[in-house]
Symmetry: C2
Subunit: 157 residues, 2 copies
């Protein structure tokens, strides 16, 4: 069973970073459509998507937001992080097969409260930034490692 | 088969709004954990979540972002909207069973480009704002109605 640890507010230093990788697959788009309710055919229908300026199925913009949120919750600060706010710019379309790198970097620590700001950037396999923004979180003050629950198998169709 | 229409940049007026409702269920949390990779037990493990300050399983913050993004893509402006940016503040925890209302309201139209800003707010069944923010999108310039693809059945377990 895998575990989730954290870096506490005290441990976190300016410039601390984390990196996660994810290759986008069609199941991501179907699941994100299911959970969000966004059934736009540009995400789901290859024939329709081929007729758009994108020339193929693109990932939902907020799917990239979801990947950023997972990096905050799983890696930096990790367990017991409380999400306060996020801003995000969607800079380039993300296609099925794109190999994304999500990077978070600590850019500010609040003077009196355990609040941390992180720069967020997501790049593709061509080193192009597809999304960028800034997250503000309440960092944990207590060191903790917990078991990550196993997820049930998801079957489509 | 359901359809997705749109309001074009020309049609959109300041103050135009749309409202969507969603009741949060445990499957939302499992699917969002699967698609994002955020397997924090506060979202997934009722026993663990009961020991946290939230006293129960909470929805992922960015799941609320996903609901907002769906309202932009499906309702206002709707089909062929291009998502440019989003900021979001997560104000209150969202629990399983919460009845959410997502409201978008047009707050600005760009003078020369088909760019629209929308205030976004998500309230729960107690009329408390759980998340709020602002979206900027490129609105469609062409009137369009398309079929919304049917999604495959998702089975967990």
């Amino acid at each position: 069973m895998s575990t989730i640890s954290n870096r506490t507010f005290e441990e976190i230093q300016l410039g601390d970073n984390c990196i996660r990788h994810h290759t986008v697959c069609e199941q991501d788009l179907i699941l994100f459509a299911t959970v969000s309710g966004d059934r736009n055919p540009v995400h789901l229908d290859p024939e329709f998507a081929a007729t758009t300026p994108f020339k193929g199925q693109i990932a939902h913009g907020m799917f990239i937001g979801a990947l950023i949120s997972a990096a905050l919750a799983m890696d930096l600060p990790g367990q017991s992080t409380i999400y306060l706010s996020q801003n995000l710019s969607f800079r380039k379309p993300v296609m099925i097969g794109d190999e994304l790198t999500v990077e978070l970097k600590v850019s500010a620590k609040h003077e009196s409260k355990p609040v941390v700001t992180l720069e967020c950037s997501v790049t593709n396999q061509h080193d192009k930034v597809v999304a960028s923004g800034e997250a503000t979180v309440m960092a944990p003050t207590e060191k903790m490692t917990v078991n990550a629950p196993e997820l049930p198998q998801v079957t489509l169709g």
